[in-house]
Symmetry: C2
Subunit: 222 residues, 2 copies
């Protein structure tokens, strides 16, 4: 019988995440761990973001999914370096998977590495990947009670992206309720409203990330 | 240091799930494990279902969430017996939580017990709760690639409910792609299209469940 010691795994992950972060710092790469429910719009946001970064920063992407290469294919079409991790059932990425993915990515000249985690609003909260920023996405079609019902992941995020804001008129999503719940859990967390379909808000997120990237290179963040 | 043996936990869960199922069988209760992403519409469907069952079957509900009693309050308003389980961070319900919840539910006279699992398209797949049927919900706003990307849970489900079908015109969700992917993973799985908002399809699911319930009492299923 195989024995798995949860605490030991978490400690090992933490150490490896630290190594990943040191590697990113040395290479001058700002790294983002992007989390959210299945279908909240992570890949679609990423496609819109890449368009907004053109000529301003060179992105690379790590895609995490249980199965398939659907997401990596979408990113590849944009000419962005991408690696797909298939977790084969595992419910979140961990630092060792990210380290392995980085070994097969050409990171020279990359400014911004976005890691799209497995679609999961629970388990991704517990695992540091070595990122500088954690961004959580919540779509308006998911309902405005989700920050209150899944507090852990919001508490540990640097920004909340409320996505599919163009669907607001089709439901009863209360953006103020979400903002209040987020404020309570993560007082310093930024909140953006965006629609990857109409383009609303994507530029603001791109500008915020580029600002973080520049500050980090100046040694102020990270 | 605490050592957790994964296989041992799964085996213990299986045994306890069997005990739960025997208890439900003896009481003549058809039990459903309802799974899906956060915000796919589980509670809203449940509200619509309860209305359709009125006078035909007596339901009870177990609600699973990381935190809050938001969902249980919604069900309580309908006059349906309900217990809220707060997992305090855990990403899925297990058979022991359900057994404890049953101890505090009045199950006399109940025909149909719906267990709304934690919103999670990954981890809920691995844990039998003692149910007779597993139903997975996927909303059109989540995108039509989710069956391919999260195969495990669909493979283990008796029915797929494609929810928020009223939003179909606002996106590019391909119902045929989803049906084909589901057919491949679960050839005997039923597929329903529904909108809890417009009421479309809810009656069909109610009729299907009542049919299962009657058959089970006749000793043909379970």
């Amino acid at each position: 019988m195989k024995i798995i010691a949860a605490k030991k795994i978490l400690k090992a992950n933490e150490e490896l995440a630290g190594k990943n972060r040191a590697r990113f710092n040395q290479a001058g790469i700002l790294t983002i761990n992007m989390v959210g429910s299945p279908g909240c719009g992570k890949t679609t946001f990423l496609e819109a973001l890449v368009a907004r970064l053109a000529g301003r920063a060179a992105p690379a992407v790590i895609e995490g999914d249980l199965a398939s290469t659907i997401d990596a294919q979408r990113i590849e079409k944009l000419g962005v370096p991408v690696v797909q991790i298939n977790t084969e059932g595992a419910c979140h990425l961990d630092a060792s998977m990210v380290a392995a993915a980085c070994d097969s990515l050409e990171l020279d000249g990359v400014d911004l590495l976005v890691i799209e985690n497995v679609g999961n609003l629970v388990c991704t909260a517990g695992f540091d990947l070595g990122e500088h920023l954690r961004i959580v996405l919540l779509s308006t079609s998911e309902g405005d009670d989700k920050v209150a019902k899944y507090p852990t992941i919001f508490q540990k995020s640097d920004a909340l992206l409320v996505t599919k804001i163009d669907l607001l008129s089709h439901g009863d999503f209360d953006v103020d309720r979400v903002a209040a719940d987020m404020k309570r859990l993560a007082p310093n967390g930024r909140i953006f409203h965006l629609s990857a379909r109409t383009g609303e808000g994507v530029q603001q997120v791109a500008d915020w990330l580029l600002g973080k990237s520049r500050r980090r290179e100046g040694g102020l963040a990270g």
